[in-house]
Amino acid sequence: MAFSRVNPTGYTNDNSTITAAQANQLDINQSRAIDGTAGGTYTPTGQIIISGTEGIRYQCTGAGANIRLGSRVITRQSTMSGITEGTGTWAMDIGMTWRNATESATGLFLPLDLPDGAVLNSVTARYIGAGGHVTNPLTDPGGLDLAMPLLQVLSVDSGGVATVVGSQLDTAVDPIDYEVMHEITASALAHTVLREVNRYLVRFIGERGAEYTTGALLTQVLYQATVTKYIEH
């Protein structure tokens, strides 16, 4: 709780004594006070509430330019807004889920709204293969019946040059796994997000090959990132 004066009416010269209780209270108070010069670590047992109209202004620079956070991992969904690389390859339904319409080596582009300065750990696509596959996608002896869906995470610079931050082929091994919702995760990306110079997106390429089946669904795209600070926007 906020401190109060140890002697509310104040001391007067040659007429006041600082009692031991007052001195002790002063000492306790200062030991609990936040040190605005040297900093420190504080674990308040109650909230520190700033009220009124003046508040806090934060004008630190360098490493402290933004309020720092104890390192934490956040997960956030993509909005699924995007655009197809090729015409007619994917179509969006009313829930903004993307449905694969035709076989194509071109992709679906979904911009990622990533927090600047964070470390991107992984990007996950949640995907449902169309029904009706006969052979196991990955264990088919010929190995060519189905080229599996591919998730790519791209960084695009000011010159429009795209760099692959990470990628992952679908690793479902039989139709039972493949034709229900499962995850395709590009992991261990360890990429520091630099929004001042880059934009980020997912490029998702659907299945292809002799056993191609239309109607796969891309239901969600989400990312995990380690954040250590609040950012302005």
Binding site: R5, I48, G55, I67, L69, G95, M181
Partner: protein, 238 residues
Amino acid sequence: LTFVRAKIGGWVDNVDPISAVQANQLTVNSSRAIDGTSGGEYAPKAEGPIVFTGTQGLEITTGNIELNPRYVIRNQEFEVTFFNPGSWAPDLGNNYQNLVLGSVSFPLKLPHGQVLTFIEARFKGAAGHGFDPVNLGGGITMPRLTLWSVDSSGISTLILSKDDNVIVQSEYESFHTMTLGIRPGFAGVISEAINLTIDAEENRYVLSVLSEGGADFQAGSILASITHYTTCTSYVEH
């Protein structure tokens, strides 16, 4: 104001008394300091805000900075959306114009962990209706706002839906506000409240707008904006 020492050079035993001024300054300073152990409430006065400078700043180890609950109002970007082919088309200002009966959907960018309270859309019915839209029962089916939550399997769950409730043709054919939920500060029907805690880790959220339909359908309605009101009680990381 930052504190200064009550005695710059420090006291020396058996030499320096603590004057009343110094003692009072100590107690006043102490009473103004922020208690880092027990917390407390502080209301900085007109001298200005508490300013942090230098390169070290603040760090919050766990959790997020809480906010006194406040409504955050944001216009939603009209991102690339779903619409029944040929039913809606964006114009130069990225407004959406309705051409034939159909829906258009927009993803909502909402802050994780906060509470979605209210949504409004600015909408103008096309000109040329022969009747007041509601009063003539069956002339048109009214435009509808529907809020969806979409899970990992792409399954959409209806959160809330409401029709445009304008009843006079002249109002309908002018820009007016379609609403979903209860506008903050206004009385409303509890069953029409949204009060959705946003889970941006597991779900995404979509607002769809179904155009008018029916025998008196007129092409050319315009959807100009979508605004959402969120009750925010903390900063979020992103």
